[in-house]
């Protein structure tokens, strides 16, 4: 599989901080991978997500996504890049309260200037596949947390982004809703070949990924791979590794 994202010696130092939030981080992601990023609070997970998604800029190092070096992007080019290549899911859902679920999902497509008929077809077919077609005409405030997060995931998936960034997507969900969402992400990864980078604290959520990068003090200290495709075995491996890291603190 071709390399989609490559980070080389990425460092991020905030002005008021003595320690770098990211310290010389290098890794690559191939197309269609599902990667989970784990680590304690303040380990640099969200900073990594921010610099990878052009929301923030690294102090040094290079990030290339789909052949584009993010360093060279101006503000408006970065906006265009996000529009064409990236999708986002956040812990707080961040749906637009004034828009229906249908309209929320339509926003990234209108930004790509797709024809109205195509927008409607894409949303309806995706909503049917992921089982939220009954909620399309509702407003976010009329839905449960799990339904909102699934709508948020669909909004990210619908434009077929090159990479989908998910920041603690299950953080505010109950276990059943969290499983639903993770299955949605897995389905999107498998059937639509969406590349996913998911930040999470939760070993259960991480077990849906193919690879896990564990962060500590701004560095990748360990990588875990799903060996035989079995999620349960992978979950156990992750919990063991986390327990090991906890005792080393």
């Amino acid at each position: 599989m071709p390399t989609l994202l490559e980070a080389k010696n990425v460092t991020k130092v905030y002005a008021k901080s003595q320690h770098p939030s990211l310290n010389n981080v290098s890794f690559s992601v191939t197309k269609g991978e599902f990667i989970a990023i784990m680590g304690a609070s303040g380990s640099g997970k969200t900073t990594l997500l921010n610099v990878l998604s052009t929301i923030d800029t690294p102090t040094s190092g290079d990030i290339t996504i789909n052949g584009v070096n993010l360093k060279n992007l101006t503000d408006s080019k970065a906006a265009d890049f996000r529009r064409d290549n990236l999708g986002f899911i956040f812990q707080e859902y961040l749906l637009l309260d004034s828009l229906t679920i249908f309209e929320n999902i339509a926003v990234p497509l209108t930004l790509q200037k797709l024809p109205p008929q195509k927008i409607e077809n894409m949303i309806r077919s995706l909503a049917e596949t992921f089982g939220i077609d009954a909620q399309l005409n509702k407003y976010p405030s009329e839905l449960s947390g799990g339904q909102r997060q699934r709508a948020s995931a669909l909004r990210a998936i619908v434009k077929h982004p090159n990479i989908l960034f998910a920041d603690e997507p299950t953080g505010a969900l109950d276990s059943s809703s969290a499983t639903d969402l993770l299955n949605t992400l897995k389905k999107s990864n498998e059937s639509l070949h969406t590349t996913i980078l998911m930040v999470t604290h939760d070993a259960y959520a991480a077990s849906f990924a193919d690879r896990i990068m564990i962060f500590k003090d701004g560095c990748i200290i360990k990588e875990l791979f799903k060996q035989n495709g079995d999620r349960r075995t992978f979950y156990e491996a992750i919990t063991q590794e986390i327990a090991k890291l906890d005792t080393e603190r």
Partner: protein, 668 residues
Amino acid sequence: MNNLSMAFKNLKNNFSFYALYLLSISFVITIFFAFTSFSMNKVMLEKISGDGRVETMCNTISLFLMAFVIFYMSYSNRFFLRRRTKELGIYALLGYRKSTILCLLTVENLLSCFGAFVIGILLGGLFHKGIVFGITKLLDLTVNNSEILFFNLNAMIRTACFIFAIIIILALSNSRFLFKSSLMDLVRFEKNAEKQAKLHVIPSIIGFVSVILGYCIALDILRGGKSVWFTVGFYSVGMLTFILILLGTVLFIASFLPYMVQISKKNRKKFYTETRIITSPGFIYRMRSNSKTLIMLTLLSAATLTVSSVMALSLYYPIAAVSRIAPSEIECRIENESDISAIMEMINRYSSGDDISFLQTNIYKVTSTAKQLPMEYSIGTFKGDADNEKILRNAGFECISYSDYTAILKAQGRQKALEQFTALNSNECIFVRYQPASGKDETGSTYPLLINNTEIPVIVTMTTLDNPISFANSVGTLIVSDNLYHMISENAAPETKVLCVNGNSITGKEELFQALPAYLDGSPYLQGNSHRVHELISLNSSTFLLIGFLVVLFFIATGSILYFNNISAIADSKSDYDILTKMGYTNKKIKKIIRKQAITFFSIPFLFGLADCIFATLIYKTALMQNLLENSIVLYVPTILAIIITLIIYLIYYCMTVHTCCKMVLKK
């Protein structure tokens, strides 16, 4: 940390947040203090009001002003309270009693109002001085400036007492809010603010139909005598129109507009664009909790625009009409031949200019046997039809010669009017109309004039509104050829002899005009152009000034409320803009969305207010003002000016709002 130091810290840390609040209440207090100082300025009131009229108006307007200041400050206070509800909830969570929180809010209000009071007194004093200076210059009054106090102590005490009363009102309103809200309400208040919209078809249709019907009835006034305004009755139709437009405005904004935006979403081609997909649903969403504010602002805006437009028209129109009411600089009747030399001598005493022309015109009253005569023929001949019922005139045409007519127009400097006339044949005449014709005028009509018991028919070749002599001295003026005039003069004595005095060197010589009535025994036939203009300005300036105070206050309130409202909406949806940025919206596109959202909220009150103002002004002009001048766009220049000024004020507020909203949302 006590309440005072906490209040200080809160104000200091949130200075940019409070700056506009402080600025706007300072403005309001500036106007209030300037107005109070003016209404307590005995020196000025003695000069401009002899009959207590201005004092009565001051008292009435001061009531309006007080009610308005209370409303405005309550609104601002509520806005800031809403924005801080969560913070107050945290205080409560930390163990602050509600009475302590109320005390903190009151201390903050006291500090803000004290700041606004100091600024208001300084600016208000300056503003008051400026007004006094303006009026003395405008009315040419002699006022000893040292007698006009910069800080009128009584006005300061009244302003301070009033502000103190407002602080108590605000404290009461805050206590009601705090004690009514539970801790959960306080913490979650901002989240609960918006509710789902319910779009109703029937109120939307009623709103649309009412507005259209109201405007159609207003337009019907242009049909003149046949319109419902005159056939049914002015006040009943006026009341109906007012109710229709009021009801229509409320339903149009609350139901029709959101409904139409909802319908417009069906136009998929237009809706699925990067801006529209955010702004259209955003508008419907905002209307859920803001429609009442928007309706209130629209009515306020309509009132402000209408008052300023009617005020401008009421000042300008009578002044423009002076060219017809008193076309000569000085005009009077000659009772004795000796009057002429006496008046000439008096004028020469006050002016040494050699450009003065003295023209005597003899006016002959001639009756006609025509079956259909113009209304000017018999106007003012019976009680109830004359301005001054003590001096009724006899029915008839009042004839002057073509040569006299052109000579007077020339002396009055009306070259443009002169160019439209050509010499008359013996059987031709020009008829001077009192009012512009609404349909067909008298041109082509033949009037048989009874001269020495012989009927001599004359044809009206044209009608004119360029009367050479004031209406006090001649109505139903007929300009006849010099030959015919000669024939008339040989057979009868003139009805009146009128002396017209013109010349630049006597223009605006008020002292000369003051001296003339003494000689003419207060004759009602004495008329003067610049004197009349001066008289109109003196009579009306105080009224306009006082209404001007209200208009300025209305503007500040409307603009500031719109500003607060937009800032509040943007602050509430800050996270929405954050997600849009992450989705790939550029700063330029987000600015466009903000501009669109703000312009919608600014344009609804302005456009509605503008439409209401246009129709109200039309009714006022057509039905309530004497129509002496031809309809011309020039007459509406002051109204257009008033509208342009309003537009500029709205634009300034709009730019300020967009700037602040963008600053809040966009990251550098």
